[in-house]
């Protein structure tokens, strides 16, 4: 029931009671509708009734409404893994964004700004250029080469940005952001240089990584990404209460019993794990982590016990919708979904920036 903070004077007062019990239902419904839409829309028509029947059929429940063989193959081996990956990646990116925004007490922070995404992409590109994924000497590590390097890059870049941004034992937001910008620029420069020594095949793979796409989603990709993505999600959601305390300020949180430095480390590690896994499965998808928590904060206030879960749901829904657009808007060509989320995100970013007068 907290009144709106004074830093948002332009906003009409929201009656919290109207929003309090509903976000789960509403956001859950939005996600379900988005997922069903994505499953039924595309070059191959999949009618909803048959879709339901086939989904139930795949689970062993016969309804008598099954799709044609081709439609069912498209549904079960192309669209379903794609939606599953979109849900996981979207949820993780948005939750990471919410957590990082709380950590730095700044609504404009997102994994892309901190250098996490850039570092992950640089790691992936390095692995591609070095042909680690086809190097037989690596044995079983081959399959993990690109995702592994993406994760290492994400972690390295985030730690570097945080280290650079920490002056006298305290991380200052402006410094961290500047450091993040520098790290991102460095990663971008590295990728730019590497693209010039890349072969045609590598170049195309790199394009995929730097703009993001869910088009490569198959059950094996989903399976490999599910473990780190889910782990990151659980880790982030488990710290919702501590994040609320952190909003009071680091010293205040410490006096309330939060081990602030440990919490910071945990969040940054979980964020790098989540973003690294997301980038390794689908490339860099920008702005989901910025947009979703910011929108929700405007709608339901800053209580992270609700904000984190809501971010996961809305992030998942947003990415599924964006991916549906990416698949259908310019068929038969697929647009990179990262370009779409960024295109949506930039106006939101500008509006937020314009609204946040004075302190951020």
């Amino acid at each position: 029931m907290a009144p709106a903070p004074a830093s948002y004077p332009a906003r009409a007062p929201v009656n919290p009671a109207r929003l309090r019990p509903r976000p789960w239902w509403v956001l859950g419904a939005v996600l379900v509708v988005a997922a069903l839409t994505s499953l039924s829309v595309g070059s191959v028509r999949v009618p909803l009734l048959g879709l339901a029947g086939s989904l139930l059929g795949a689970l062993g429940v016969e309804t008598g409404h099954r799709l044609e063989a081709v439609q069912e193959a498209v549904l079960l081996s192309i669209r379903l893994p794609r939606v599953a990956l979109g849900v996981m990646v979207g949820a993780v990116l948005a939750t990471c964004g919410a957590a990082l925004q709380a950590l730095f007490r700044n609504p404009l922070v997102e994994p892309g700004l901190l250098g996490t995404s850039g570092g992950a992409a640089l790691g992936a590109v390095l692995a591609i250029i070095l042909d680690l994924s086809i190097d037989s000497r690596l044995g079983a590590f081959r399959l993990l080469a690109v995702p592994g390097m993406a994760f290492a890059g994400a972690l390295g870049a985030t730690l570097l940005a945080q280290r650079l941004g920490t002056g006298g034992g305290r991380s200052e937001t402006t410094r961290v952001l500047l450091a993040g910008v520098a790290v991102t620029a460095g990663a971008g420069a590295g990728i730019g240089l590497l693209t010039h020594v890349a072969t045609d095949a590598q170049l195309r793979t790199i394009t995929f990584w730097t703009w993001g796409s869910l088009s490569g989603a198959s059950w094996s990709v989903v399976g490999a990404a599910a473990v780190p993505l889910m782990a990151a999600l659980v880790l982030l959601l488990s710290e919702a209460r501590s994040l609320n305390l952190l909003l009071l300020g680091e010293r205040e949180a410490w006096h309330l019993g939060v081990d602030v430095e440990r919490l910071k480390r945990k969040l940054i590690l979980a964020g790098a794990l989540g973003v690294g896994a997301a980038v390794s499965a689908s490339g860099v998808i920008g702005f989901v982590g910025l947009m979703v928590p910011a929108l929700l904060r405007l709608g339901m206030g800053p209580d992270h016990r609700r904000l984190m879960g809501a971010s996961a749901l809305l992030g998942a829904a947003l990415l599924v919708v964006a991916d549906t657009l990416a698949r259908t808007a310019a068929a038969p060509v697929e647009l990179p979904v990262g370009a779409l989320t960024s295109a949506l995100g930039v106006p939101v970013f500008i509006v937020l920036l314009a609204r946040s007068k004075g302190t951020l």
Binding site: V41, S43, T328, P332
Partner: protein, 300 residues
């Protein structure tokens, strides 16, 4: 609640608006038995060498889609496009009613190929190593796949005959100094790329009896002025399309680097020969030999 309900409504409405199926194939495919051995073969071909071979085997009628690179072939123009070979999308391909994807090894991304296989398509990946052996092999593999072995053997026999002619011309025209050939093509405006080792053009030059002027690297690299001077070419080999795009031979002579080296002639081949070694590579070899000024086989 209002914004949410609006969003919900928009999503539901989008059901109708987004369901754009390009050709009618997607809608007409249902209501029949799923694809079996007796169902009509519908092919999507990726990579000019594969596409050209499939047409040369007399299976052009069955091609329901080609990738962008195949559009360099006159016979493939007008077929539905499935996009750039390295960035194929699975669903539009399935919507064409495709039963088999015959593709050069550049085809991707890997995840999409995996999706197509699991959707029941026959995905055949052919090597694109730029060697004569692979070119022969590709014709035979495709012929076997399409049940056209005799046509395949006829194609290979034609190719052998053309190459024997070429070899005879080389033997006739043996002079002291080997002809140095610099092969380049335009990748977009002002981006000339030079063919190094292990490229289709290098193999063509070798079969024609010339010498690739660039041996420092494999694959294609951007043209540098110094590189041209080091290469000291007698002939500049370009695809027809590149010469047209540049604006003819005069424009080529003004390209930095090429303008500093004098005394070279221009020879062109069809665009596809720069991409891969197709079934008609013998004709390209002949054109290069004509450019080199080798005497015809039956010339006195």
């Amino acid at each position: 609640m209002k914004p949410w309900s609006l969003g919900l409504a928009a999503l539901l409405l989008s059901q109708g608006a987004l369901a754009t199926s390009p050709p009618a194939a997607a809608k007409s495919a249902p209501k029949e038995a799923p694809a079996t051995k007796s169902a009509p073969v519908k092919l999507v071909t990726v990579g000019p060498a594969v596409t050209e071979t499939v047409f040369a085997l007399g299976m052009g009628e069955a091609v329901v889609g080609v990738d962008d690179t195949s559009l360099a072939l006159p016979m493939a123009r007008g077929r539905p496009k499935v996009g750039y070979q390295r960035a194929l999308a699975s669903e539009p391909l399935i919507a064409l009613g495709t039963t088999a994807l015959l593709a050069s090894e550049e085809a991707g991304p890997p995840g999409v190929l995996e999706q197509l296989r699991s959707a029941g398509l026959d995905v055949v990946i052919l090597s694109n190593k730029p060697t004569l052996d692979e070119a022969r092999n590709r014709v035979r593999v495709l012929a076997k796949k399409l049940g056209r072995e005799s046509q395949g053997e006829a194609l290979v026999a034609d190719l052998e005959k053309q190459l024997q002619d070429a070899a005879a011309r080389v033997a006739k025209g043996k002079q002291g100094k080997p002809v140095r050939i610099l092969a380049l093509y335009a990748r977009g405006a002002n981006a000339l790329m030079v063919a190094g080792k292990e490229t289709p053009t290098e193999e063509l030059i070798r079969l024609a009896g010339g010498v690739n002027a660039v041996t420092e690297y494999s694959g294609h690299r951007p043209l540098t002025a110094e590189g041209v001077i080091v290469a000291a070419p007698d002939i500049i080999l370009v695809p027809d399309g590149t010469l047209t795009a540049l604006g003819g031979e005069a424009a080529l002579r003004n390209v930095p680097g090429l303008s500093q080296v004098k005394g070279w002639k221009v020879t062109t081949v069809e665009d596809v020969h720069f991409m891969s070694l197709g079934p008609n590579l013998g004709k390209a070899v002949q054109r290069i030999q004509d450019g080199m000024g080798l005497p015809a086989r039956d010339a006195k």
